[in-house]
């Protein structure tokens, strides 16, 4: 057993090379050919299938599964990509247990849904492995569209616009495309640099120019885009991280979970990535779980997630909570951060206060708890930073702190559409961002071509 667990403070190299490799291997290994056939055969090919209705991108799930079962994985992949060009990543990161698989009639009947996500991965892996391109660009329309952000929403928009013959320029602030697919998910959910492979697969259609290192509000303004392009799509995600509002949270050792996750995904050598011996994660969503589990997998001895409400209120799915528990993460409820305690400028503990519902309001009870910690991650949500939009044009209408759009993804500004995490009313899911991007592209296409006619 590696003794690296017991190094005090925030340190790297806690595990052996084999342990790192093992811990960060594929969470759900791909189905092999026979496994896929057996699993596909479990699908009942339901009428008006509940799974299909639960999918934000409305993939015809019974049809794609039947195509796998009948030995037509390429046809299956096309059925998926017709609705969701990022079907490969969604197969890996969708919380299927709260979407398609939750309503699978076999889940209802026997508590064992058809493994839709893994079947989707099987089919899309076959197509992407052969680099099979299903779509050709229409004749060039002569129209240009700027897409801000190369995340799931931006990529889905770009692909659908490119199909319609429009020229798309994606402006991406980060060094790589992919958005949260590249920077925001646990490493074991998408191995082998899949996010970049998918970007390449999506952009292979042609007509999509990705420019990295271009941030809205810093390197260009919205007014530039509106002036230079026929339409603009905003898919810039959430730039801000919510604060703990706990005393002393600015000390060394207190970090944003999203940054930790991004850093981990980009690390070429996991042993070089330092992690605390005792880690506390504040939050109750997927990001909290991703940060907690990965801390444990990096060799932290003790990892505790603290959430200010009850288990039933957690945004992390049951599957994610089980995954955390199986990896030795403790999840504690009804605790909110009160004070970060530091020694020599570094965090040494966190003081939390118990909470309870007072009527319909959450309130501290006054009782406190102190957990030793040499690393504290904040995972209590991200927020949209509207400032980047401001100044150059009439301000865009917001709702609930995010961009307000109509059913087609149109913002309050003519020529400007938006989708993904930056819009109001979303659910912060990759698959929803894809659906919004796709639908906005169709809306843009209609607008640019007088109802779809070039």
């Amino acid at each position: 057993m590696a003794t690296g667990h017991f190094i005090e403070g925030v340190a790297g190299g806690r595990l052996s090379a084999e342990q790192y490799a093992d811990n960060f291997s594929d969470l759900h290994p791909p189905l092999d050919h026979h496994e896929a056939l057996v699993e596909a055969d479990r699908c009942y090919f339901c009428y008006d299938a509940p799974c299909m209705n639960a999918c934000p991108t409305s993939i015809d799930i019974p049809l794609f599964i039947r195509q796998i079962a009948t030995g037509n994985p390429l046809g299956s992949a096309k059925t998926i990509f017709d609705q969701n060009i990022l079907g490969g990543m969604c197969a890996r990161v969708c919380p299927t247990e709260t979407l398609c698989e939750e309503v699978c009639v076999r889940e209802v009947a026997e508590g064992k849904p058809v493994q839709i996500g893994r079947l989707q991965r099987y089919a899309t892996d076959v197509a992407m492995g052969e680099n099979k391109q299903f779509y050709k660009r229409a004749e060039p329309s002569g129209k240009t569209v700027a897409v801000v952000g190369a995340g799931p929403a931006g990529l889905a928009t770009a692909h659908r616009l490119a199909r319609h013959g429009h020229d798309v320029t994606i402006l991406e602030a980060r060094p790589k495309a992919g958005g949260l697919n590249e920077y925001g998910i646990a490493a074991y959910k998408s191995v082998d640099d899949f996010a970049q492979a998918e970007v390449d697969y999506v952009t292979a259609i042609g007509g999509i120019d990705i420019q990295n290192g271009k941030a809205l509000g810093r390197d260009f303004q919205l007014s530039d885009l509106m002036r230079n392009y026929d339409a603009v799509f905003l898919g810039l995600g959430l730039g801000g991280v919510n604060a703990l509002h706990a005393d002393g949270e600015d000390v060394d050792g207190v970090a944003n979970a999203v940054e930790f996750i991004a850093e981990l995904r980009q690390a070429s050598d996991l042993s070089s990535l330092p992690v605390g011996r005792r880690v506390v994660v504040i939050g109750g969503g997927m990001t909290a779980i991703d940060a907690a589990v990965q801390s444990k997998l990096l060799g932290a001895e003790e990892v505790t997630v603290c959430y200010r409400r009850g288990q039933e209120h957690m945004n992390a799915s049951g599957f994610e909570q089980d995954l955390a528990a199986a990896n030795g993460v403790a999840i504690r409820h009804w605790l909110q951060p009160k004070r970060v305690i530091a020694e020599n400028g570094k965090v040494s503990a966190i003081e939390l206060e118990y909470t309870a519902m007072n009527g319909d309001k959450l309130a501290g009870t006054g009782e406190t708890l102190r957990l030793n910690a040499d690393q504290v991650f904040k995972a209590i949500g991200q927020s949209f930073v509207p400032a980047v939009l401001n100044g150059s044009v009439a301000s865009i209408e917001l709702e609930g702190g995010r961009i307000k759009v109509d059913a087609e993804g149109r913002t309050s500004l003519a020529k400007v559409w938006a989708g993904g995490d930056c819009i109001f009313g979303g659910d912060d899911l990759t698959v929803s961002a894809v659906a919004q991007g796709r639908d906005a592209a169709e809306s843009i296409h209609r607008a640019l071509t007088s109802n779809g006619r070039a």
């Binding site: 057996v38 339901c46 299938a49 509940p50 209802v108």
Partner: protein, 437 residues
């Protein structure tokens, strides 16, 4: 404890489960293993006439179709009769029979369709101490091209002729094995009966092509780019075989003729069904070739348990019990009315009953009620066809519920008549007989 000892045309075996004449019974090694596993009897793989044995292909002999999880549903073969020397087989048969006197050992025979050939082989077989002979009139490939096997079995006159020779030249019981590759199974059975056969066994395998390789466009199994029709067997053929058994069991001309049932028998339940339709015992091949000889232990225990549970003391209590219930369509009670009923607690809402009924039948099942996904039978449209029961993935969720006499049939708007009435007296039947007053 139920007594499952079997006496089939005087051939005794500790249970009614025999291995059919096929690769599993080709030599002493296999048969010894089968008896050790518990099989009640074997029909030794078909013997041919003395002289150079037949040869088999040296490529694939079997083809198959599969269900879920590659469960083998149907197997076909292009293997011929034994390709071992006659004397070797006879020597081994004699030794095995000596080693296992309580088990049935029946010799399957196929020689050219002339009296001398049959006259020559029968004493040789008799000398082994075999309990009986089975005439292979069924093999549908290879041998049939040489005027044997199903080439004989498809001509009732030949069957009768050969059976007569056999009854003349041997004291052993004669079982005539029938081919299903004919239009009316009763004709060859009647011929065998007329020739004096002690029993018939059926079915032999069905002419088939299991698949086509879509790269080479060759039928499967493929021998150097070509294929030939082979004999189909396994679970897929069971319904066909059971009908043929029942047809012979209820035919006035052959009623009472002992039948050894063959065709896709895989479990004790399959065996019990064949026996209920009139088979005095059963023969198994594909199930053993799929799972090995051990399956007989499940068959023995399963049959005993069921018989104990139902109070059947011996096999004679079950053989033929279902035969009287097999009738012609024209005698079915047209006044019997059943309606599908969906158990809402068991329903998993897959909607297959709805779409099957909506697209292909009678539009008698809802998909939505009050804005909710809900599947319910519309009795006014339901003809009681049973399709929904058959496509429902949940056993017991949809049932066919008979309407009591006097109850209103919402589809016809008429009360259900308590009187049995069939097509022969139906007013729409131009040939209707006048109903007796």
């Amino acid at each position: 404890m139920a007594d499952i000892r079997n006496n089939f045309v005087g051939i005794k075996s500790p249970n009614p489960f025999w291995l059919a004449s096929a690769p599993p019974t080709d030599k002493a090694y296999n048969v010894e293993r089968a008896f050790k596993a518990g099989w009640g009897g074997v029909v030794w793989k078909t013997l041919g006439e003395e002289g150079p044995p037949v040869v088999n292909v040296n490529g694939p002999r079997y083809g198959a179709i599969w269900g879920a999880d590659r469960r083998l549903l149907g197997l076909n073969n292009i293997e011929l009769i034994t390709d071992r020397d006659l004397q070797t087989n006879l020597r081994e048969m004699k030794q095995v029979k000596m080693n296992w006197p309580d088990r049935a050992l029946v010799a399957s025979i196929m020689v050219p369709c002339d009296e001398e050939s049959w006259k020559a082989i029968l004493p040789l077989v008799e000398e082994t101490g075999a309990d009986g002979i089975e005439l292979n009139f069924g093999c549908p490939h290879g041998m049939s091209e040489r005027g044997m096997g199903s080439a004989v079995g498809q001509v009732p006159e030949y069957i009768e002729m050969v059976v007569r020779w056999c009854k003349q030249y041997t004291r052993m019981p004669v079982i005539t094995k029938l081919t299903p590759n004919i239009t009316d199974i009763r004709k060859p059975a009647r011929a065998a009966h007329a020739g004096g056969t002690d029993a018939v066994s059926l079915i032999n395998t069905i002419n088939s092509i299991t698949g086509v390789d879509l790269d080479s466009f060759a039928p499967q199994p493929t021998i150097d780019g070509k294929g030939s029709h082979g004999g189909y067997c396994g679970p897929a053929v069971k319904p066909i075989a059971m009908n043929m058994v029942a047809e012979i069991a209820r035919d006035p001309e052959t009623r009472g003729l002992p039948i050894s049932g063959i065709g896709g028998i895989t479990t004790w339940r399959d065996a019990a069904e064949f026996m209920a339709l009139g088979a005095g015992n059963v023969q198994v091949c594909t199930a053993a070739m799929t799972y090995g000889f051990k399956i007989v232990q499940e068959m023995i225990a399963g049959l005993e348990n069921w018989m104990d549970e139902k109070g059947h003391a011996s096999l004679s209590d079950i053989v033929g019990r279902a035969t009287p219930n097999v009738t012609d369509w024209q005698y079915l009670n047209l006044n019997y009315v059943a309606k599908a009923h969906i158990d809402q607690d068991a329903c998993i809402k897959c909607g297959r009953c709805h779409i099957a009924c909506e697209d292909t039948s009678h539009q008698a099942i809802t998909s939505m009620v009050d804005g909710l996904r809900h599947f319910e039978v519309i009795e006014a449209e339901c003809v009681g066809c049973n399709l929904c029961v058959n496509v429902c993935p949940v056993e017991g969720c949809i049932t066919m519920e008979p309407l009591a006499a006097g109850a209103m049939d919402q589809r016809t708007g008429k009360p259900v008549s308590p009187i049995y009435a069939n097509w022969t007296t139906h007013p729409n039947n131009p040939m209707a007989k006048v109903a007796a007053e």
